[in-house]
Point group: C2
Chain length 366, copies 2
């Protein structure tokens, strides 16, 4: 990755906005700009922040626990540790660097921390500038190197899925399936799952975000598997729905309905269309069949260093798709007391259509 | 759990502060007050918030995906879903409930969201009041029911550790050990690990927060295992350090040094002492032996519904311990190029001393 070019682009933006430096706290933005792989324990326990000055050297501010990792991952940055918390380091450091205005990520900074920081810096005559989306705007369009990393993440995801799919009868309960999947991810070199694997059998499938439990995998009922992994920082996200034993007529009808909705959504995707148009095309199919009230979420979302990012394929978004964006398409039907079906792939938006990053075809067999 | 009593206590606090309602966004606080188990995907994708009015019924605000879970977990609350985002629901709902002031959790609300909310509510004449620590203050002291849940979490943690400890040679790499541990946790009924399991062999142990990788578990080198799980919402956290093969003299000396520091810290713990005194007692032992610079973090932290919570056993904290607090004690030595040793148990602070929640004694055998 050309971190130098990405940093240069941020620095240019800062100079244009006449801001002296930018404090990057969001883990995906930090990784995008530097490759730093430190893991946070939630927003309250950061493994470090990047300080990008409008001119000059990038600093990586971290604590004792992540010092070595920071130096390994970002040898070209100045790694500075804060023994007494970030705020105590920040004031003097910004003073030394003669910084008089600091942008921070308003959508990844806690209200209480922002308040303390703004007060402390104001005392030094430093202005804090809340910003949103400065790096996200750069991450929105993926270059071919990133698309290739996403392709590899999807491929690994499918390898894991295929292995578990062919040995499904080895796993008696939902949690056994989920563990087999997450273990498979790690063994094949994934950094981590990109979200908690969803495995929902029968009625449990009516929860779109079901937590796999000790429920048995029912032989002749619907089974939802929604799984994603992180490889080289980039995420995959895929959902399959199947019946381990014999699918009844209702299941086959609903599965085909969701698939038709999926393919109708995909058929609209190309650079220039509005996000809401893709959502509408898929929703139309499901609503026409009388199941509109059972499809309660948006059609899809962007994927990259974050598993959920812009753009949102939502009925409320009139934003236009651009070539190089990556989106999921994942219509679903969730019927309380019966179960649910969702079918999800990842697509690259191209000028003339879209490219399916998935090659698994099990969802076409029903 | 007596959620009714906890809610009543919050409502009393609100009435005393003359605030009409409280929006609870922090997952642990939400669970403490209601038992709701919905899982968030980071701070940006909440599975719901509690709205606790100073008088009247608690509302659980969530979206379509978590609706069923919310109704199952918190049948006594009014579950309200927001099809168009929380902000669009909040204004009209607060209007209906005739709420004119709303407290929110400043240390678990994003700066950007807080800004939008404050602006939107101000237009309706509703005052937003940033608060910190209102529920955390209640969570600080655990009652015997909670202590028992923590004891069960620690016991399950040790069962998993013991199993892996006795089959260590089955796992050739760090990640194999970590996967065996996390699989063992799930199989034995844990909800999830309370943090990403740390397994670090040899030199990797010099990173206090090492990420387990494909490095082999070296037979005659130090192996750090730091593991925790969540059971009934409550967390465990335990670190052991061992040599799978034959420990050399240096290892044995350092292990005993860390153990002496651990026990010196524990010996100070009882209701009434300052947090910094426990830290100092342990640090003193390590510094006297000439390793002070290699012990870069605090002695320990509180554990409960969150794996890291108040109190902090930090050299900078003059807060006093109280009976019913739960703390870890976990001194460590991290030597770049050599490795690291950390030994961690969980203790209940009592009036006359402290109670060790751990019963594993492998750390005493070296």
């Amino acid at each position: 990755m050309d971190y130098y070019q990405r940093i240069a682009k941020v620095q240019e933006k800062l100079r244009r906005k006449k801001i002296d430096a930018f404090l990057v706290s969001k883990p995906e933005n930090r990784r995008y700009l530097s490759g730093y792989r430190g893991g946070d324990h939630g927003i309250g326990e950061s493994s470090g922040m990047l300080l990008v000055p409008a001119r000059g050297k990038v600093h990586l501010l971290t604590d004792f626990r992540f010092n070595l990792q920071a130096e390994q991952d970002v040898p070209w940055a100045e790694v500075v540790t804060y023994p007494k918390g970030l705020l105590k380091l920040l004031g003097p450091l910004l003073g030394d660097l003669q910084i008089t205005s600091l942008a921070f990520e308003s959508d990844y900074t806690l209200h209480s921390f922002a308040g303390k920081m703004m007060t402390a810096l104001a005392r030094q005559g430093i202005k804090s500038v809340p910003t949103d989306g400065l790096v996200e705007a750069m991450r929105l369009i993926k270059d071919e190197e990133e698309i290739d990393l996403l392709r590899r993440a999807v491929r690994l995801n499918e390898e894991v899925f295929t292995e578990v799919y062919h040995t499904l009868s080895d796993y008696p309960t939902e949690i056994d399936v989920a563990l087999a999947i997450e273990t498979g991810m790690h063994r094949r070199g994934a950094e981590a799952p990109s979200f908690s694997t969803i495995v929902a059998s029968g009625k449990n499938g009516a929860h779109p975000h079901a937590v796999p439990g000790s429920s048995p995998v029912e032989k002749d009922a619907s089974l939802t598997i929604d799984m994603g992994l992180i490889l080289n920082g980039y995420c995959s996200d895929m959902t399959r729905n199947l019946v381990p034993g014999t699918a009844d007529k209702q299941y086959r009808q609903l599965h085909r309905l969701v698939r038709r909705a999926h393919l109708a959504g995909v058929a609209t995707i190309r650079a220039g269309i509005k996000c809401c148009d893709a959502d509408r095309a898929a929703r139309h199919i499901i609503a026409d069949a009388g199941y509109g009230e059972y499809f309660g979420h948006s059609l899809g979302h962007g994927v990259g260093l974050a598993v959920h990012e812009e753009p949102r394929l939502s009925g409320r978004s009139s934003k236009k798709l651009q070539a190089g964006m990556i989106v999921t398409v994942e219509p679903g039907i969730y019927i309380p007391g019966w179960g649910g079906i969702r079918l999800e792939n990842m697509y690259v938006v191209r000028d003339e259509g879209c490219e399916n990053l998935n090659s698994d075809t099990t969802w076409l067999d029903i």
